[in-house]
Symmetry: C2
Subunit: 170 residues, 2 copies
DNA sequence: GCGACCAGGTTTGCACATCAAACCGACCCG
DNA sequence: CGGGTCGGTTTGATGTGCAAACCTGGTCGC
């Protein structure tokens, strides 16, 4: 299931980026998601694809299952074996991987080892070059001016450093 | 400036996602980027905003400067002080933060503490709901079928078993 | 039935990273 | 001078990461 993080328990600013990183920010976690999304569902395949040590992989897989990002699905009875599959929450992480891939292609490697292409409709196949747009108005998100406002929940949280004061006597 | 990672030196599949995580995937790194992008450029502000221990923060800031994601910019001479600012490469990480924010809002917290809005043109202000689209053809990227092909560079690197399709399984 | 082999972990022993808290030096303010 | 701020560095305890060996079932060849 979905494992909601208690934002008040996190260090620093209450922010769902930090909450997300709490669930999938440890080493290997996102690479495990990548492998599973590529169709590698078995322990050994994920181990080979990511290069993670086996004990770390065990820990990460369990954590990701607990976080509701992966689910275990048995594929064999007589040697009881299960594969790991993305849940809806896990599939929603693919944009994160896309963002990292695009950044990595541009800034972290001399020449990208993989090219993504697609063929929308019947027009020519071309390379994917992704941008974030607002689904409501179609405007690009990163360029335009975005304003951040606290929600009621956020307002309740951000009185944090004052909570020592029981007498209101300034 | 840009510190390219040697893909052959990474464990597992040669992939720029792994390379990107090598540069900005350690704990606190992305939260540091978040703080700087919010306008907190000083050591103490970043420490408070992220909640990171000060020695870790020192290490991460140095690593991010070495990776070309941040740059140090002096703002005072007589006590020699510098602030940290995003480079072009650092600004290109904002889509990664946007992706994590959106996932975190949806899956990692009960009620998001911050809402993003924007006002494109003169129409009504509305909440940002971002999607990846292909800049070339305008099609949404995550839904449509994307194919992965190895580049020459990738072929040179790889003795690994490629290549399934992205399975959006149920 | 016997030994080899495989998948999916668990255990072990050691190295390295992380943490909170104390410390430090330069500077400023009164 | 005394106290405070800023931007770190040092310290000692604790935790996490790693490679490699080991274990537990089950299958396969013969």
């Amino acid at each position: 299931m979905t494992a909601a993080i208690d934002l008040a328990g996190l260090p620093g600013r209450p922010c769902t980026i930090a909450a997300a990183l709490e669930l999938v920010g440890e080493r290997w976690s996102l690479l495990v998601i990548r492998e599973v999304s590529l169709g590698n569902h078995r322990f050994s395949d994920i181990a080979r694809g990511t290069g993670a040590p086996r004990d770390r992989l065990t820990a990460r897989l369990n954590a990701l299952v607990a976080a509701g990002v992966l689910e275990k699905r048995p594929y064999s009875d007589s040697p009881p074996r299960s594969g790991y599959h993305l849940t809806a929450s896990g599939r929603d992480l693919l944009p994160v991987l896309q963002a990292l891939l695009q950044w990595g292609d541009r800034w972290a490697a001399d020449s990208p080892p993989v090219r993504l292409t697609h063929a929308p409709g019947d027009s020519a196949v071309h390379q994917v070059d992704a941008a974030w747009i607002c689904r409501t108005c179609g405007e690009p998100v990163m360029g335009s001016r975005v304003t951040r406002e606290l929600t009621p929940a956020g307002r309740a949280l951000s009185g944090l450093p004052d909570e020592e004061e029981h007498d209101h006597d300034h």
